[in-house]
């Protein structure tokens, strides 16, 4: 067995792959945040709670309506995305004229409330959600067992990220969205309904979080605090990638997943901290983030 830096090569490859898988979650989550921030200028701290709601919605569909994982993947983003639309209309839309800080406080508070409600209703120990039968089992890659489901998560995340990027960078709708970010009154003057577009964008960002939740449900315990652990890292990813930069958050998400994976081998105690160390360095060297425009 070959050793690299004192670590057996198979273990190292395994960790790189795992890092990529975790990176897929980071990318998916930070993508939603970046989309919302880019267009609404709102730092959506409810994102973790919405991720958690996605997982719970999948569980509810299975337990209460008998709808399996694939239905959940289709329906949950629509349902949770709709709750996002309602939220934006009722509350968030009132804050656009105010400082960032108010949006942050509102969404942070909402996140805490939603989590509290779920904890009261479902307890703190979590609910079981099984891997769909089609995706059970594992591939033997020689250096490690890759569960088929994890492979599927990476593929699904890549497709989602690519599709979102294409939608925003390459389509007419995306062009309207980007234009509205630059100068909303002007775009409105051309007959585009900007407030509705903004509402739908928020709904879309929330739907991305919800899909993340559905994808995560079979891997992690479905519990009310599942979003809290993820969201802090994801915010760091967004900051490192450059606030609002879509490509930045995708690349940074995958990249930091790998960095974190490697830290888990060399010095596990620091694996939660390493991302923030990188964040501090990036902020010092490039305050706008790796892919952000100053």
């Amino acid at each position: 067995m070959e050793d690299i830096f004192g670590i057996p090569a198979p273990l190292l490859f395994g960790q790189l792959l795992l890092g990529l898988i975790n990176g897929a979650f980071y990318a998916m989550m930070s993508l939603g945040l970046a989309v919302i921030f880019g267009l609404l200028n709102i730092i959506n701290f409810t994102h973790g709670a919405q991720f958690m709601m996605g997982a719970f919605a999948a569980w509810m569909l299975l337990e209460w309506a008998g709808l399996n994982y694939w239905w959940a993947l289709l329906l949950v983003p629509i349902i949770i995305g709709f709750t996002g639309v309602v939220l934006e209309r009722l509350m968030i839309s009132r804050l656009y004229k105010l400082d960032h800080l108010y949006g942050l406080l509102l969404t942070f508070g909402l996140g805490l409330i939603i989590e509290g409600v779920f904890r009261n209703q479902f307890g703190s120990s979590g609910l079981p959600y099984r891997i769909p039968p089609e995706l059970q089992g594992a591939w033997d890659l020689g250096f490690m067992f890759l569960p088929i489901y994890r492979g599927w998560v990476v593929i699904a995340a890549l497709i989602l990220c690519l599709a979102t990027w294409l939608l925003i960078e390459k389509t007419r709708l995306g062009a309207y969205l980007r234009a509205a970010t630059e100068n909303a009154p002007l775009v409105q003057a051309f007959g585009v309904n900007v407030p509705r577009m903004v509402t739908l964008t928020y709904g879309f960002g929330v739907a991305l979080a919800a899909i993340g939740g559905v994808l995560a449900a079979p891997i992690y315990s479905v519990n009310p605090q599942m979003g809290t652990n993820l969201i802090i890292v994801v915010f760091a990813v967004v900051v490192i990638g450059g606030m609002g930069s879509i490509l930045g958050s995708i690349i940074t998400g995958f990249g930091l997943g790998i960095v974190e994976g490697l830290t888990k081998v060399f010095y596990p105690e620091a694996s939660a901290t390493v991302i923030f160390v990188i964040m501090a360095i990036v902020l010092l060297a490039r305050p706008a983030g790796l892919f952000g425009r100053a």
């Binding site: 099984r130 490690m144 891997i219 992690y220 315990s221 599942m226 890292v233």
Partner: protein
Amino acid sequence: MPLHRRDVLLAGSGLALAGGRARAQGGALRLGVLTDMSGPYRDLTGPGSFAGARQAAEEFSAATGMAVEVIVGDHQNKPDVGANIARQWFDREGVEAIVDLPNSAVALAVSGIAREKNKVVLGSGVGSTVFTGAQCSPNSIQFTYDTYMLAKGTGDALVKQGADSWFFITADYAFGHALQADTSRFVEAAGGKVLGAARYPFPATTDFSSFLLQAQSSRAKVIGLANAGADLINCIKQAREFGLLRSGVKLACLLMTVVDSIALGLPEAQGLLMTESFYWDLNDRTRAFAERVKGKRQGAVVHASCAGCYGVTLHYLKAVKDLGLERARASGLEVVNRMKAMPTDDDAFGPGRIREDGRKLTPGYLFQVKSPAESRGPFDVHKLVATTPAEEAARPLAEGGCPFVRT
């Protein structure tokens, strides 16, 4: 803030607030269940602990006519919050004893206050062996379990089955370290080897696959999981996902409860081993207790903390009765000494006794999670595999280092 929160909980739990206050002035004995009502240990303790303590109070009141009132508070797993509530309860609300105290940090803080004010701590959710060791208090009891019992029950059993090389996945804080250290001692004493450990950041970790893979490449026969709650559940799910269990590796869940088995679901949890001091389906008396308290659990399982708070509260009330209410109010120390002098006996744990250092001697039961085919109901999840006798399940008195115990 804590007062407000507690009052809301009180109202929510359906306790007759006004009636309770009125009786308190008339001399009702007041107990406070201080527990985690909103955090990660809520399902393992929280409302279940409150239910157990209330059950004991009701049964005792019905049998003796002594008025007992039980209130509840949420310490939010913060020692400062817990200490504040404890002071308020002791100083202003006439609380004589505080029950449960999951989270050792909070328990130790409250134990100090109770000692200073000569009140009583009836620990049930507190797991650290320090509580009856170096930081023991003559005013405190540790009733339900400790990490020594868990480590010995599960560690010993697995080494005896031939699983003699271990790798630990450990939550990087005091509780995880203690659990790993205790278990390592038993593994090594039984002739096993510890090959390594990965300490992961707590509570910021949700993906354990990296650590599981490191454990696998160490070629250990057992992966010791020195963590609890959602972390434990994620570890088990992911170990199964990555095919570790199929390759013959065993998982040692050092702090797993009936609540975790149910949360995981039997298809994922089946075959796992764990140690607890209570299971509702252990014998006729435990079943009778579970049946009586069921109405207070709102569809949730009757778990060890519920039983522990029941047992310790009942024993406390017996000691108070024996001593007389006035003397009991005057000195918590005297009540605890009486509790140690009297043998315990309740439906949840059967007969037993409390040692000088405050540790209740109770057998450790090694359970295995049933397969879905073996289970006859949603709470029918465990079967008894082995029993560690009460005297062996607790750390020998001389090793504890409790200053006021003369050995």
